[in-house]
Symmetry: C2
Subunit: 276 residues, 2 copies
């Protein structure tokens, strides 16, 4: 077994839920759990980049995936260390050679920040034409249904506390490889992108699942990660749909239990399941 | 009746839903509606500020509310005109006197961008101590239940197409004054802030309703707008809760039908409803 390079990472998971008291409609005290939310400021080679609000389930993977999806670093090997310190809500990232034109790229970022007031948009759109998803990848309906069953039975913060979105990467049998929840939909996607880099997971036969909506940025990020299958429990927006058609991703929405809608990319989908 | 000043605004609403075809789990073609999503780039006095992804229901109010909530303008009177042109996905904002230190403030923004990878955060937090919500405001349970009933029966894009969040401002009887939906939760809040400015709606006896989760930024923005009551159909995060306690807002979650949880601020709440 060959050993793979890993930047030196802390393992600074936060408490994920907190217990509070509330009053219900009968005026009775009710004990419940709520999801954590923490500011995490990223510093690359001591320069402040951004503050993310995160559940804190896997802050190192989130930081790495954020840099990956923002195209600030090109290879995981460019990273020396990723150290999260919750005493000061900071993540210190050390790179091997610095980042060229960092200030200029951050300035550009300011003016293209978008997506429901979310992350970088302009640059992502420019890359659409360079995305090529494998046409030969296949997903059977029985694997899709098995994936949905795995999601249903997976233990989640959402079930305990609500107020978070979940994203998962599965193998081509629908088995969960990574499951991340976060208060921000895009954080969960970025954390998966980071973990895929750390574990050297190849995208071309994987399936990406999200509890969140299929907006433009969700579809773009998944396509950019090279994953040909995107499945959501929720709905779709017009730009999410248009981009899916443009990049040729196989896209499912409203997927739960034995129900789903196939929005695009039926060439990769094989209906093999028996009627229930 | 005194006439109030209004900047010269376009009225450039976008088509809100689009019809597409999908295949359901039986392999049958299914016709459905999906929500629109459009990039809208804001320019202040010809300088590019940000690109928001929006449903486009009320882009002028969104632009104004964005500038208000980002503290880029202090009074609606500072605005001369707000012109949206969907041919180029641009919103041109003309101010009376320009914005002092705009470049410096945008640079500051870059590094504090946060909240689920959302909007400005650092500056908002700094203002918490200056927020004073009226202690004498009151909300009765019967008004709360009437508000929830109004939300349930309100015609929405969500019912037709999903994939959007809704926010509403109601009067102290729970009657809807403004209802905005958007693909981004924060856009809907900002659009309400903008419309409140345009209509000179005072906040101190109003109720803010959202279908979205009560994260830190949602609670901060509502408090900053001076609204003492915040009601959500969804859950709460830890920072949302902490900020609610800090600013003393009256906060309800999981509110639908006749159910709700009162998280904070019971001094303003009067239980007058008869058991159903």
């Amino acid at each position: 077994m060959t050993s793979i390079y890993r930047p030196e990472c802390s393992n600074a998971k936060r408490p994920l839920t907190f217990e509070i008291m509330a009053q219900d409609e009968k005026g009775e005290a009710s004990r419940l759990f709520i999801a954590g939310e923490n500011p995490l400021t990223l510093y690359i080679d001591k320069q402040e980049i951004v503050t993310l609000m995160t559940l804190g389930q896997c802050p190192e993977a989130l930081a790495i995936g954020y840099l990956r999806n923002q195209r600030l670093i090109e290879h995981v090997e460019d990273l020396v260390s990723v150290q999260v310190d919750w005493e000061v809500n900071a993540c210190a990232i050390t790179t091997r050679k610095g980042i060229r034109n960092l200030s200029a790229r951050l300035a550009k970022r300011t003016v293209t920040t978008g997506c429901g007031q979310g992350t970088v948009f302009g640059n992502l759109m420019e890359e659409i034409d360079s995305i090529h998803l494998p046409p030969e990848a296949r997903l059977t309906e029985s694997v899709l249904l098995s994936l949905l069953d795995n999601m249903r039975t997976h233990e989640t913060i959402y079930k305990q506390a609500g107020a978070v979105h979940g994203c998962a990467l599965t193998d081509n049998l629908g088995q969960i490889l990574i499951y991340v929840e976060d208060v921000g939909r895009h954080n969960a996607v970025d954390a998966i992108a980071g973990q895929m880099w750390l574990d050297r997971l190849q995208p071309e036969d994987k399936i990406f699942y999200t509890t969140g909506r299929l907006t433009s940025e969700m579809v773009i990020k998944c396509a950019q990660m090279g994953i040909p299958f995107l499945v959501s429990r929720s709905g779709l927006t017009q730009m999410g749909y248009e981009i899916a058609c443009q990049v040729g991703i196989t896209l499912f929405g409203r997927a739960h239990g034995r129900h789903y809608l196939l929005f695009h990319g039926e060439d990769r989908f094989i209906r093999d399941a028996l009627p229930s």
